[in-house]
Amino acid sequence: MMSLIQIEFFKLRKQKRTFYALGAIFLIELIVFVIAYFQGGAILDALLSTLKDTFYFSGKLLNGNLLTYMLLNSLWFHIPLILMIVISGSITTEYQDKTLQAVFLQPVSKWKFILSKYIVGIVFTIVVVLLLAITSFSFSYLFFGKGDLVVYLGTLNFFDSKDAFQRLVLAFASGTVSMVFFSVLSLTLGIFFRESIKTWIVAALFLIVFNLLSQLDMPFLAMNTWFLPKLNNTWQYFFYFDIPWIQIILHLLILCFYIFITLIIGVRIFQKRDIG
């Protein structure tokens, strides 16, 4: 099993697609920084103009914490989309290039092989989010400095710099679980469709529908708790003034359960189907 995992990492490292994906993520960061640097102040002024009639703002609101929060919001769509493309590609390209046939001409266990792909996909996802977090904090603080964070979630919440940093770190950690869900889902879709384009379209559709449905309030609390699209934005809960810890922990546990179920479905489909 360990050798299968090592080989999956080796293949991931040797493929240009992996580096294009990482490059795309950092390009998004760069664009956000450039826009914020040149137009951020004006945009923020426009957004807060009505409030400025009532409140007095002191200090610099366009700071590293706000920039990191903006980059954190790429967990809504950009990051999961890129992760889904890379991770589903790890199986669909093997189907399309028929290297999967060549693999199973060797004495290799099917479930161990596919499980190693899931494990590598999960580790890759964690590394990507970690890199995103590290670069977001580093470059944001380097170019924009520290300061209080202002976030609008129904109400306008202000957090002092230290508190903001802690909340952002926790949000990245929580967001990682959501990203792992999308990565695992994309691999399962790849196993099901066996083709890159179909998998990417369905993965993107899932992402859009999940984002739309995340705003939907179900009639009962229990339904809200178990409704999958509403679990993927748990990282946002860290920006309520009082952090709803119990809700966050429950959501993350349920999300882990969904990740496990999605993974098991993928392994079972892969095991049952003929490779040829």
Binding site: K11, K14, A102, L105, P107, D274
Partner: protein, 272 residues
């Protein structure tokens, strides 16, 4: 073996066997069921009924190539060997890789990705991968397709060497009988999902060309058909050398000797 896809029977009660050191050919038109049979033999497809029995307890009883060699195009030859070796728990260092590549006539000098390789080189690398972990049976699906004449000759030599030196049972498919005839001990003809004919290739007709062929007395011991400077002789493959020696002793000026494969007859169950 029986196999159908969406109610359409692709294989109908097919049975074949091949011993160690033997080269068996599976010949048939496109769509006859060769690749499906090979995929079942290699465990890529499951048969609706029937089973594959390989008399070995080796961890890798069978290896092969189906349709075309499937390689990681972005990796070089060594890395491909490393990947396919490691997934089955083998430690592939540079020396092992070199030995494996030399066995199939490739060298480690090429360090560029295998997507740049010619089809012949890919076939060879595919065979090197198939031979990892020393399987007792090797299956090659259309190994000659797309190869140039030199590549075909070289691959035939490699196949014969693997069968004779390593005592591997080799099953090869092709829709071109001539390719198989020269290297196979037994030919199976598959037609519409059924083995229509199978027989050893050592009993066949040969055409011998010589200006004075009619002067030969030795030929009177064989079933022959004369046609000007040419005679068609029914003879077993291993007895041909003796016949040619005898003809030379009779001062017969032989200019050619070629096997005659009647394609149509072969497919109609008559020649072999």
């Amino acid at each position: 073996m029986l196999k159908s896809f969406n109610g359409y029977s692709v294989l109908k009660d097919v049975s074949i066997q091949c011993s160690g050191g033997e080269v068996c050919g599976l010949v048939g038109a496109n769509g006859a069921g060769k690749t499906t049979l090979f995929k079942i033999l290699l465990g890529l497809l499951s048969a609706d009924s029937g089973s594959v029995k390989i008399n070995t307890s080796h961890s890798k009883p069978i290896g092969g190539i189906v349709e075309k060699p499937s390689l990681y195009g972005y990796l070089n030859a060594y890395d491909n060997l490393k990947v396919f070796g490691s997934i089955q728990g083998l430690k592939i260092d540079k020396t092992t890789a070199q030995q494996q590549l030399l066995k199939v006539g490739l060298s480690l000098d090429r360090i560029d990705p295998v997507k740049n390789y010619s089809l012949g080189m890919k076939q060879r690398l595919g065979i090197a991968i198939a031979l990892l972990n020393d399987p007792k049976v090797l299956i090659l699906d259309e190994p000659f397709s797309g190869l140039d004449p030199l590549g075909i000759i070289s691959l035939k030599k490699l196949i014969l060497s693997l069968a004779s030196k390593d005592q591997i049972a080799i099953i090869i498919s092709s829709h071109i009988v001539e390719h198989l005839f020269k290297i196979c001990d037994t030919l199976f003809v598959i037609k519409e999902g059924e083995i229509s004919t199978y027989a050893p290739t050592n009993k066949v007709k040969y055409a011998i060309l010589a200006s004075n062929i009619k002067e030969s007395k030795v030929l009177s011991n064989y079933k022959t058909l004369f046609d000007d400077d040419r005679v068609i002789v029914h003879i077993e493959k291993d007895k041909l050398v003796d016949l040619l020696k005898n003809l030379l002793q009779e001062k017969i000026k032989i200019t050619a000797c070629t096997p005659i494969i009647d394609m149509e007859a072969l497919f109609e169950k008559s020649v072999l």
